[in-house]
């Protein structure tokens, strides 16, 4: 066949939850809950509509510690649609799949092939002249270079390597099945369909080595469009590799400058404008946004001192950006600074100036000891919760104290 297309996806993480979004009685919970399922439906629909020759999944269908069998049932239902359309699904198990109990119990339908974990397997699709090579993860932590086991390309066929790997390391990802781009290039395949790294990346174009990224962002670090790669092969060579966004909820960090703003309502108006812009860029998808406020503003103390009011204000602005579920606010981060005149307080010859100096001395000399036992008690109450690195209970307290100093001085400046 002179031309055919196939879809390459990875890191589906079916039924993996959205992280960081607080419960919102106004939010359509079902939409949030089923985001990873909806994205997977989109993947199957796209394969059918694009008349793909086959679908490749480069590992991590599930979350490893996820045990709910209904996830597997859903997978079978969707893969059944693919089978009805006569499209084969070929995949390898990733580190999460190897640890999953669902994987061990699920009987997959016909036309679904999971390549073996004890050796490199090969599937040939004569209709398209394609050979697909791949090896699954046997255990969660595979530290050997699996690509070394991969067979030589089959002459006269279009050879694809299906591999779950972090290559030589990617930030935020365990270095499983390590290998290098050079090693893959040396193998002589026409296309390397990789998985494991959640950010989309084209590692090489000759031959093509592609991470399609995960199918649906699940937290703020997985921001931007998510989906799969649609590969067109013409005359035995890759003609195009196009990214298809298939996500149904998009995570977006949003920084809003409040420099010089003196009025709270004015600040909210700026945020509202930025949210509108964000909504426009999200291709009509609902957005989960982390709003970061920065810049020097006289509102600094007010923003720091009443976080709940700020959060509710931002949520109210988000409500005005179209439909009710257009934008959900994941978090509001106040990174503003006081305007220059707050610093002049330190130079005053009265006790205000002395107080400002004392606050800095205290932070310098005592640091987190100032906080007493309260943080430890909170930590105990919150045992079992994994906190982000920037959370005050993890960062050590100095950043927190600086923020608190700003809050005290800003409140005093309001009195003066």
């Amino acid at each position: 066949m002179a031309e055919f297309r196939f879809l390459h996806a990875a890191d589906i993480h079916l039924d993996s939850p959205m992280r960081g979004l607080e419960a919102d009685p106004d939010a359509p919970v079902r939409r949030l809950r089923e985001a990873s399922r909806a994205a997977f439906r989109n993947l199957i629909t796209t394969a059918i509509e694009e008349k793909a020759a086959f679908l490749l999944i480069a590992g991590d269908l599930y979350d490893g510690d996820w045990q709910d069998y209904r996830t597997g049932l859903f997978l079978i239902e969707q893969v059944g649609r693919l089978a009805e359309a006569g499209i084969p699904l070929i995949m390898v198990a990733g580190n999460h799949d190897a640890a999953s109990v669902i994987t061990r119990h699920l009987r997959l339908p016909e036309r679904v092939s999971v390549l073996p974990h004890d050796r490199c397997g090969r599937i040939e699709l004569d209709e398209y002249g394609v050979a697909i090579h791949g090896q699954s993860f046997a255990t969660r932590a595979v530290t050997q270079d699996l690509s070394r086991n991969y067979a030589d390309p089959v002459p006269g066929l279009f050879n694809i390597g299906l591999l779950h790997t972090a290559l030589n390391g990617r930030p935020g990802h365990d270095t499983y099945a390590p290998t290098t781009a050079a090693a893959l290039i040396a193998k002589g395949y026409d296309y390397w369909a990789l998985g494991h790294v959640h950010a989309r990346e084209t590692v090489c174009r000759d031959p093509w080595i592609v991470f399609p990224g995960n199918l649906q962002g699940r937290h703020i670090r997985e921001s931007g469009p998510k989906g799969a790669s649609l590969v067109t092969v013409r005359d035995g060579r890759v003609a195009t590799v196009a990214h298809r966004p298939l996500d149904v909820l998009r995570w977006c960090p949003l920084s809003v400058s409040l420099a010089g703003e003196t009025d709270f309502d004015g600040a909210m108006a700026r945020i509202g404008q930025a949210l509108l812009e964000l909504r426009r860029e999200a291709e009509d998808r609902p957005v989960a946004a982390r709003v970061r406020l920065f810049g020097a503003t006289p509102l600094h103390g007010e923003l720091l001192g009443d976080g709940e009011r700020v959060r509710q204000g931002v949520i109210a602005e988000s409500r005005q950006c179209g439909a009710d579920d257009a934008i959900w606010i994941e978090a509001v981060v106040v990174d503003t600074v006081a305007p220059a005149d707050l610093a002049t307080l330190f130079e005053r010859p009265d006790v205000i100036g002395r107080l400002g100096a004392v606050l800095d001395e205290l932070i310098r000399e005592q640091g987190a000891d100032l906080l007493g036992e309260y943080p430890e008690r909170l930590r105990q109450r919150m045992s079992g919760i994994e906190l982000a690195a920037e959370h005050p209970l993890r960062e050590g307290g100095v950043a927190l104290l600086r923020k608190a100093r700003d809050l005290v001085l800003a409140r005093l400046a309001g009195e003066i």
Binding site: P17, L304, R311, L371, H391
Partner: protein, 1164 residues
């Protein structure tokens, strides 16, 4: 700064006032004014002098903005004289004594960094602030630091601020668990979500088990359903046989009956009924015809009895008209007397009005019409007179006002002079600040450099296994990451493989031991009887049976053999024992065969384990060798790194990563250094270019040069703006002045015209020439009233004549009618005669109406008689036609034919009905088939077989229902799992709760940190209250209280926090703040404030201290004197100006040394 004079012009309620102030240390200025006399204005004026007059000041209420000025003369900290002033306006409003614009730096030199807020909070103290400061001191229990902070900053809420932080923290996440607080709500939600997740998760094994059970239940139910269907078919057959058997018998009887009636005629089924109905119809029609004839006769008799008076009926309309007029005539009789009385009163009022106007006849007045042109003209002129007078007054006032404003604006414009171009300077400033403030930019770059230096130091410190400097570290040529990764991976893989092989060996050994144990347990069962033993037992048994047979049935003598076989036991018993033994051995052999199979299996497993173990030991040896090889390669690789200490794989990888981080930090540090140097060079070049446009002394640094340039630009731009604004104002004013002059001239012309028209109007109205507009307006009102009264009188007279005419006409019409139809009523009164005529007419109308009704009934009766005759003829014809259809003849013949036809029809119908029934209950079988089926089963066998089948069916039905219920239950369970809350939902809720917990805890921590910081800062501020400061406060307090208190001291509470105590005169007794009287607390706070002012004055230029009615709370006369003395002491550090409405302060001031108090009496 100290003031010697302060002047206000056009400010507040002061048009011009000048106060002479005493600047000398040790002297105070007492300005006395009554309440409302301008003390607040004066205090505001001090503020405006120093910091500018606000754009929307309340002080323009009397004189407006124009001419608003404040002037002050005084001496600065070095004793040099100065004169400054403030005008109302935009931009720089600071002026000198002559009103010329003054550089703001002059003022900055006098007041330092003090701003408006500082002045309000520290240098202006009134009784309200004094009292709130004392209350804050009481609220904090006299806490030294908080009291000093309140006195030294004017902010009394340090404790309140800390408490607000604590309160916010506790509102979110108090230390003690409280369910209503957000953090604990979120934690509870988290706990619930975790439980829900556990409950909602469907594990694969559970699902598969349930699915399998469900499939089994479904299969069982299907099998039962099939069996039940077969049973139901057999039951249906027997029931059909039972059901159709009697109907088949009836069918045969009906066939016989039909054959018997074959000769009867065929008549329609309703022939008998139709024959009876036709006869009855003839009889009824005859009765109806006779009743109609009787009714007609009766009506003709009633008509003959009713005859009315036709003459009276002919006059009916005229009598009705008289009846309608009767009520109106009665009303006329009632209205006539009051109308005549009102007519007389109106004539009297008209005469009185004529006298008031000085007229003799009505005609004279009626000649002047109220709506006529003379009166309208007079009214118009009266209205215009007021408008014209107001217009003239306004025009004159506007002309005078604009003239004054033009003069003032012209003088101001001349004062401003010509403008200056600062374009080059502005362009240079813009270039310097194009990337932001240069100072801040340089500071940012330096901070970045410091940050990068620190980052480098931190990154270098994190490099493990390294003891030389950074440059040496950079000089190291490390192996490529790929090689390290490969070697590390190889070592790791070898270690993993070794560990795996060792684990496998251990596991296999355990398996082997387990297999051995299981084999040993199986072997503990004892030996197994072999086939030979069983064969022997059987032979022994058979030998016994042979002995019995031969001895008992064949009669052989076998005593010896029997004795040998049975011994003392006897042959029968011995045979039974042999039989039991053979059976026992056979049974045991069968049981043991299963155990033997298990033993064989265990032996097979054991052999396999031994084999696996041998293979695993070989792999372990190979793994050891591979690990040693990998370790050698790793050691060779890391030797070139010159690391201090043994290099494990993780350590080398960590070293390489840390080295890369350190070198990256080093590159960033170098980059930051370069940026700082470049920025410094750029700023120096800019400074030199600015120095070329400014005085050289103003440009010691780029920041100073930029500030100087901005001041120059600001001054010039402000002056230009002010000048442009004045030009525009002047043009507007001149335009308005010209308009005002034109308006005044037009108003004067209009007034002259009006006077001429007024004179003509008076002549037309025949009024005196000098009569005023008000008198004329009154006369016009009287004329209007004469016209109204005259019209009213004429109307009354017209109505009286009309009433009299109506009464006469009515009497004539009654007499005329009575004469024609009732002559007996001619001589009666008109109203009574009319009533009688009406009554008689009504009676005759009733008779005529009844007669008309009877005529109608007569017509109806005749029509009904004709219809009855027709119906009778038709019924007779129908009866004869039916007779012919049946066959004619007499009544008896007809009845016989009808009866025979009915019997034949009944037989046919019955046969048909039976056949239909058989079709209905025979399940569609033909009658012949049914007869054959029934014939095949004897009647007596049906019920027994049916009962058996029904019992079987009930059993199957019960079992099927049970199976269906089980299937349904399992399906529901399966569906319930599918439809219940999904684990995904529970997990989402768990994540939401984690997010809420994280956010709330971070927010609570911020408030906690703020509260802790403030608490610790307050503790450290207590150090401000060192011995010297406290001693000085005590001295001032002692002075104010006149020695009632010897001073203050510092004590500590249980937590070591110092607080102020007052020492009584005996120098031994002390009081805490809360034990002091309200007034004494005020005095203590005043002492604190005075000492903090002294402290401030030592560090920065002090402003004048304004004490506004501060001493009014001091009810003790002696303490008032003492407070004045304390203020005189303060004046050694800052000038003191006391504002008060209490004239008795003047007397108190006399107690101080002569000249200490400079008294000014303020008068607006």
């Amino acid at each position: 700064m100290r003031l010697t004079a302060f002047a206000l012009e056009n400010y507040g309620n002061f048009e011009s006032v000048r106060l002479s102030l005493d600047p000398l240390p040790g002297h105070i200025n007492l300005i006395v004014a009554p309440n409302g006399g301008g003390k607040s204005v004066l205090r505001q004026a001090f503020r405006d002098l120093l910091f500018g007059i606000p754009g929307q000041t309340r002080m323009a209420f009397r004189f407006g903005y124009a001419g608003m000025r404040l002037f002050a003369e005084g001496i600065d900290g070095s004793g040099a004289a100065f004169a400054i002033g403030r005008r109302k306006g935009l931009g720089n409003t600071l002026i000198d004594g002559a009103g010329n614009s003054l550089d703001p730096r002059v003022l900055k030199g006098l007041i330092g960094e003090a701003d408006e807020a500082l002045f309000e909070r520290l240098f202006a103290l009134d009784s309200h602030l004094l009292r709130s400061g004392a209350e804050a001191m009481l609220a904090s229990g006299g806490d030294l630091a908080e009291a000093l902070f309140a006195a030294g900053s004017g902010i009394a809420g340090l404790r309140r601020l800390r408490e607000s932080f604590e309160s916010r923290r506790d509102a979110l996440a108090p230390e003690r668990q409280t369910r209503s607080r957000p953090l604990y709500q979120a934690l509870a939600a988290l706990s619930e979500a975790r439980a829900a997740l556990r409950a909602a998760t469907v594990r694969p094994r559970d699902w598969e088990e349930l699915q399998s059970k469900c499939d089994c239940a479904r299969d069982r139910r299907a099998a039962l359903a099939r069996e039940q269907a077969a049973g139901q078919a057999a039951i249906a057959r027997l029931q059909r046989i039972k059901r159709v058997r009697p109907w088949l018998e009836q069918w045969e009887a009906a066939q016989r009956e039909l054959a018997a009636t074959e000769a009867a005629p065929r008549l329609p089924a309703d022939t008998g009924r139709r024959w009876r109905e036709a006869g009855e119809a003839v009889r009824l029609a005859a009765l109806e015809r006779r009743a109609a004839a009787d009714r007609l006769d009766s009506l003709l008799r009633e008509l003959a009895a009713e005859e009315p008076d036709e003459g009276l009926l002919a006059a009916g309309e005229r009598i009705d008209a008289l009846e309608r007029a009767r009520d109106r005539i009665a009303a006329d009789h009632r209205d006539l007397p009051p109308h005549e009385a009102e007519s007389r009163q109106s004539a009297a009022r008209l005469a009185a009005l004529l006298r008031a106007l000085g007229a003799e006849t009505v005609a004279e007045i009626l000649a002047i019409a109220p709506n006529g042109p003379q009166v309208a003209a007079a009214r118009e002129l009266i209205k215009r007179s007021e408008v014209l007078a107001e217009r003239l007054r306004n025009a004159e006032a506007e002309a005078a006002r604009t003239e004054g404003e033009i003069a003032a604006a012209t003088a101001e414009r001349e004062r401003l002079g010509e403008g200056v171009d600062t374009g080059d300077l502005a362009a240079l400033v813009e270039e310097a600040c194009a990337d932001g403030d240069p100072g801040r930019r340089l500071a940012d770059l330096e901070a970045r450099l410091a940050h990068e230096e620190a980052r480098l130091a931190a990154a270098f410190a994190k490099v493990p296994l390294w003891q030389r400097d950074v440059e040496a570290l950079a000089a190291v040529v490390p192996p490529t990451r790929h090689r390290v990764d490969d070697a590390a991976a190889a070592l790791d893989a070898a270690s993993g493989a070794l560990a795996e092989a060792e684990r496998e060996i251990g596991r296999l050994r355990q398996d082997r031991e387990a297999a051995r144990e299981r084999l040993a347990r199986e072997r503990e069962g004892g030996p197994v009887p072999d086939a030979a033993a069983i064969a022997a037992a059987r032979r022994h048994r058979d030998h016994g049976w042979a002995l019995i047979r031969r001895s008992k049935f064949e009669g052989e003598a076998l005593a010896a053999e029997i004795a040998a076989y049975a011994g003392a036991l006897g042959l029968a018993a011995a045979f039974e024992r042999a039989l039991d033994e053979a059976d026992r051995l056979a049974d045991r052999r069968e049981q043991e065969s299963r155990r033997l199979a298990r033993i064989a299996e265990q032996q097979r497993i054991l052999a396999a384990r031994e084999k696996e173990l041998a293979a695993a030991e070989e792999r372990l040896a190979a793994a050891h060798e591979a690990h040693r090889e990998a370790a050698r390669e790793w050691a060779a690789l890391t030797a070139g790194l010159a690391l201090a200490g043994t290099a494990e794989a993780s350590g080398v990888l960590e070293f390489l990563a840390a080295r890369e981080a350190a070198l990256e930090a080093r590159a960033a540090r170098d980059c930051a250094r370069h940026a700082v140097a470049a920025e410094r060079a750029r700023q120096e070049a800019l400074r030199r270019r600015l120095a070329g446009l400014l005085p050289a002394a103003a440009c010691p640094s780029l920041a100073a040069a930029l500030a100087a340039a901005r001041r120059v630009i600001g001054r010039c731009e402000a002056a230009n703006r002010e000048r442009a604004q004045l030009e525009a104002t002047l043009k507007t004013l001149e335009h308005r002045h010209r308009q005002a002059l034109c308006e005044r001239e037009a108003a004067q012309r209009a007034m002259a015209e009006w006077r001429r028209e007024w004179r003509e109007c008076l002549a037309a109205l025949k009024r005196p020439p000098a009569e005023t507009p008000a008198a004329v307006e009154k006369a016009i009102a009287l004329i209007e009233e004469v016209h109204r009264e005259h019209e009213k009188l004429a109307e009354l007279e017209r109505r009286i004549c009309g009433i009299k005419r109506n009464i006469a006409d009515f009497a004539a019409r009654v007499a005329d009618v009575a004469g024609a139809v009732a002559p007996d009523l001619v001589h009666q009164p008109a109203e009574a005669a009319a009533a009688e005529l009406r009554r008689r007419l009504a009676g005759n109308r009733e008779i005529a109406a009844r007669r008309a009704g009877l005529r109608g009934q007569e017509r109806d009766a005749r029509a009904k008689l004709a219809e009855a005759s027709v119906r009778h003829a038709r019924a007779a014809a129908t009866l004869e036609a039916l007779r012919r259809e049946i066959g004619g003849g007499c009544e008896e013949e007809i009845a016989d034919r009808i009866a025979r036809a009915e019997r034949r029809r009944t037989a046919e119908a019955e046969l048909h009905g039976i056949e239909q029934k058989l079709a209905e209950i025979g399940d569609g079988w033909p009658i012949d088939g049914l007869r054959a089926e029934v014939a095949a089963v004897p009647p007596e066998a049906v019920d027994a077989e049916l009962a058996r089948l029904q019992l079987e069916a009930e059993r199957l039905s019960s079992e099927r229902e049970e199976a269906a219920r089980e299937e349904q239950r399992l399906s529901d369970e399966l569906r319930g799992i599918g439809a219940g809350e999904h684990a995904v939902a529970a997990e989402e809720r768990r994540q939401a709760a984690i997010a809420a917990t994280t956010r709330i805890s971070a927010e609570a921590l911020l408030y906690h940190a703020a509260a802790c910081l403030l608490q610790q800062a307050v503790a450290r501020l207590r150090e401000v209250g060192d011995g010297g400061l406290v001693r000085r406060i005590g001295e001032v307090f002692a002075r104010i209280t006149g020695g009632a208190y010897a001073g203050v001291a510092v004590d500590e509470d249980d937590q070591g926090r110092p607080f102020l105590i007052a020492i009584e005169a005996d120098r031994t007794a002390t009081k805490r703040v809360e034990q002091l009287s309200e007034g004494t607390r005020d005095q203590l706070f005043m002492a604190l404030r005075l000492v903090m002012l002294e402290d401030y004055a030592r560090k920065a230029p002090a402003l004048p201290f304004i004490a506004d009615d501060l001493l009014q709370t001091f009810d003790d006369y002696g303490r008032t004197e003492n407070a004045l003395a304390a203020l005189a002491d303060l004046s050694h550090h800052a000038q003191v100006i006391v504002l008060s409405h209490q004239r008795q302060l003047i007397a108190a001031a006399r107690a101080l040394p002569a000249g200490t108090v400079n008294v000014c009496a303020l008068a607006a």
